[in-house]
Symmetry: C2
Subunit: 609 residues, 2 copies
């Protein structure tokens, strides 16, 4: 049996010492939750193999309030897995103990620090345990009270209740104080209790510094059935050091050396010889599904097919080969066509309703438990989750995004529904893959390539039907392109992707009829981009024309200019530059000057005709 | 007294006829709320001057469920302000009656269509009425039940309760069905009632097709004191046309001609001669504050000043000249330094807590009521609100954003807190302004320029102190740049902005000492960009080197390549390309190769030295 008081004291000691050494960090936010975490890890509830953090049966612990990183690192030190010397490297260049937890530290489940995201990640891990791996592990999420203002928390709350995640336990550290003053509700715990109840969770209200209450709460949480549990703990920011307790102005502030000395004196003797014991989990095997080969394609090419439809077909087609695939959609599966997968594999499809932030956070949680989530909604609405998408890269996640209804070519629905900045979003991510197929065959092949690729990948699909351009055995690879038209006399190269490939081909025919030859490149891989083909086209044809159904910044035009920046030729970019509106797809593409007509005009300008 | 039954029937008739004519749109989502809107506009509650939609005393009506646009246009037709012929132009190219409401239609308060945003906009309008204009108008927001899954709704709920917005009335059209099936709760209205109560609102549960109940609810809503009201109405999707009522599969689907004929037969005789009457509001004057000149600057240049601090100082300094300025911050005002404004003008500062989506939606509402909101948080966390930011452009809003803590140069806090994609976000917006000052003087001047500019503008600030480079009387303009170093023998041009300007200047000195001259441009206006200066530098120096504390895509490198794309020279881009981490600012800039050292290396490479 662990001596919890001594461990809590040791954790407080570590949190204070390491943050003072770093000269920055959040000791007071750590102290408020020190007893909660001591009780969780060392009170007998938590099951974890300290020598194998990736063990599928381990309970999971996510610090949604990632700024309490001194506490996070200290608990593993108290468990004997981090030395005091290592703690003193906190926030230093090259240390795995970063300012906010990242996977550089081996006990980090998910990178956090953008508030309000941890609960969604926990939803993903809990969904995995209950519905996919079918393992008895529990997922614990430490939450700050300030971050409960984030709407994403309530998205996670509603979804967790909907899926009856009785293996998910939130621990709300209500320390009353935010960064610049009091939270909206201070220490009024009834507000949180009422909201938590109304959102279908079981609330347990406790004094977060009273270890017996804490232990009882965890015990009670494990008994929950069919609904998640939120432990709502009244705590004191800076608890344990009288002169910083419950005081405004101490957020994100460390003690200086003199203050630290006073604080340590208050804490009293610290027993550094103790090591908190954590029981290992039962050894069970996750559900495993057999792998099979995907069927070959069989598009006949005689009728047009929307790439969004091909996306859905591809999910179904490749699913035998990717038993870890799961599909999430934000209540538009009949538009993105992820519903095709749902019909075949309902057990691996999760309806996320209209809550895109939680959808992405949940996907991250699933990804970190070894699943390969395919996440779809309208491209426009992925903007809603950009903060969550951005954070996925810091967790080194493996997630596939699909944004449908790209560009003005969606037509009548109008500007609010048009994805016009999605390429820009996904291009910013480190080492991301951004794909934009023009027909059903390339879509199918690129969905497969995404599934095989480890990392963050985005596929952009088009609403309307487009002709099938490619043979069923054509090969498409990440970083590739297709040169569809080429001659030795090309006056310029048209670089298009998705819907504009079809405009480029129409322009080619008309230009050819009037005696002008152009090269046409289908740039289906927007990132990484096929530099060698573009450079060759640049040097052979002397000018590039990019055409895209996306705003002028951050998309294909920028990608192409980047690729030839050090060996440039003139690049002319056609893109969406006027306020988009409702109308027929053809009218809008013409209005925005990204249609066949605009391409022909630009080529003639360049060719001096 | 209006004949509400006849008006409701007329509105149903219009909604059906216009959507069938368009061949797309959402008639069933319109029919569910037809009685609610009839009761609101024509039941005696709503006060509005139909001849002057911009009248400050008008009640405001926002369709958060923007897809119910047939209903929206039909109510103004029933009020005699849109002809049936105009309704038949719905969704056609050039018609003001777009697929989702936009300002092209004169009665649209705010563009909607991305769900879950209308309530935040309403919060902004209600805040304006209660705390700024001090006018008695009410703000009504029509909400769908599906969109209540969006976390942003609950952000708006909590904020509205916090600010005691008893002039804000939500109308929740609980028609049970989403796009692809039932919502999470179907017709279980108690779930909504409990949540609404728990979030501090007064819930009123009614049958949304029973006109007497509807009228009573609105009357009751006007009597609310110190808290907002949510009318939770049980409705039937497709109400009034038996064969589409409460049926799945009819979302976003129009009746064909034969079905329309059957539907109209069911509706029975329509009286097209009636015109719904709406009472005008009282004429009161909004609060007006006198304008005064801003004080001149007085930086002495002898000590470094963080641009984020200069942002706060600038808000205070220019405030006398901009009486409509309001400042919003997401619980980090002591980091963004918007707190300096709060101290001087607490009545024009709104704490938005950690809920960035609602902050931007609220700013949009304020903007549409004539205020000039300055919205600040960490640049990284503006990604959270990209969907709301994107929608601002479709409302033609006038909002100023400030993102602090840009780039890896924030140091120890690590990747989650680093704004590395903010330039990409704001560059995508149509006609946006993106500013990135390097010192206190340019920050002050650019904040002033933003305030004077009408439209969406973004200012990026740096965490750490930086030297003051400019004299207090230096002029900075949107679209400008400063050439800081220049000679006839420049081997290349270094294009920097913000923190990297200081690295470029250091590189200049070292290079000069080793006999290499370079041009240095401070590109403080990233969009619009100073094309003529860049082109001249390109042609005179033969090569450009961009250096930015931002990911490699979508930022300064892309902006510069764009600006010279048609007359190119080689451009070499230094940007954040490795996984960022914790460390000292200098260490991180060196690691990412955006420091003085990397610049020198690149210049020497180009100069062949």
């Amino acid at each position: 049996m662990n001596n919890l008081e001594s461990i809590a004291k040791l954790i407080r000691y570590y949190s204070l010492v390491m943050s003072t050494e770093a000269g920055s960090g959040h000791p007071t936010s750590s102290l408020s939750a020190a007893d909660l975490m001591t009780g969780l890890l060392f009170g007998g509830t938590f099951k974890y193999d300290l020598d194998d953090p990736r063990q599928p049966n381990n309970d999971r612990l996510i610090f949604s309030k990632g700024h309490a990183s001194p506490l996070f690192y200290s608990i593993w030190a108290a468990a004997g897995k981090v030395t005091e010397k290592e703690l003193l490297s906190f926030r230093k260049f090259g240390s795995p103990l970063e300012g906010h937890p990242t996977p550089a530290f081996r006990y980090t489940e998910a990178a956090t620090g953008s508030l309000g995201q941890g609960l969604s990640i926990g939803v993903g891990m809990a969904l995995n345990a209950k519905y996919l791996d079918k393992l008895p592990y529990h997922t614990y999420v430490l939450l700050g009270d300030s971050e409960m203002a984030e709407g994403s928390q309530w998205e996670a709350m509603e979804l967790a209740a909907y899926y009856k995640l009785d293996n998910l336990i939130g621990i709300m550290d209500v320390n009353r104080l935010g960064q610049r003053g009091e939270t909206m509700y201070g220490h009024d715990l009834t507000v949180y209790k009422d909201r938590v109840s109304a959102f279908g969770w079981e609330p347990i209200v406790i004094d977060g510094h009273h270890l017996p209450q804490i232990l009882t709460a965890y015990k009670q949480a494990l008994e929950a059935r069919d609904r998640p549990v939120m432990i709502i703990a009244r705590t004191i920011k800076g608890k344990g050091v009288s002169f910083i307790e419950d005081k405004n102005g101490w957020h994100g502030k460390t003690l200086n050396k003199e203050e630290l000395a006073r604080a340590l004196e208050e804490l009293g003797p610290i027993d550094k010889t103790i090591t908190g014991q954590i029981a290992k989990p039962e050894q069970r095997q996750p559900m495993v599904r057999a792998e099979q080969m995907a069927r070959p394609l069989s598009y006949t090419g005689d009728k047009p097919v929307a790439t969004r439809h091909a996306y859905g077909s591809a999910l179904v087609r490749i699913s035998p080969g990717f038993p870890n695939m799961v599909v999430l959609d934000a209540e538009v599966s009949n538009s993105t066509f992820s519903e095709l997968f749902k019909k075949v594999h309902p057990e691996r499809f999760f309806e996320m309703f209209i809550a895109e932030q939680n959808m992405v956070g949940t996907a991250l949680g699933l990804s970190l438990r070894g699943k390969v989530p395919f996440v779809s909604t309208f491209a426009a609405f992925l903007t809603r989750a950009f903060d969550q998408i951005r954070m996925c890269q810091y967790s080194r996640a493996n997630i596939k995004f699909c944004g449908s209804h790209a560009g003005v070519s969606i037509g009548e629905d109008g500007s609010s529904q048009m994805g016009l900045e999605d390429l820009a979003i996904f291009r910013t991510l480190l080492d991301s893959v951004v794909l934009y197929p023009s027909d059903a065959v390339s879509t199918e092949k690129l969905v497969e390539a995404m599934a095989e690729h480890k990392g963050l990948a985005y596929l952009r699909t088009t609403r309307k039907d487009t002709p099938v351009l490619y043979r069923n055995d054509e090969v498409f690879r990440i970083g590739g392109s297709k040169t569809l038209k080429s001659s030795r006399k090309d006056a310029a190269t048209i670089v298009a992707a998705g819907i504009t490939v079809h405009e480029a081909l129409k322009a080619y025919e008309e230009l050819k009829a009037s005696g002008i030859l152009v090269r046409v490149v289908d740039l289906y891989s927007v990132k990484p981009v096929d530099e060698s083909t573009l450079r060759q086209a640049a040097s052979e044809t002397g000018a590039l024309i990019t055409v895209e159904d996306h705003f002028a910044e951050g998309g294909i035009g920028d990608a192409v200019k980047n690729s030839i920046a050090e060996h440039p030729v003139p690049v002319h970019s056609l893109a969406v530059r006027k306020m988009p509106k409702s109308g027929k797809p053809e009218e809008l593409m013409e209005y925005e000057e990204i249609s066949k007509k605009a391409i022909i005009k630009k080529v003639k300008e360049i060719a001096g005709r």
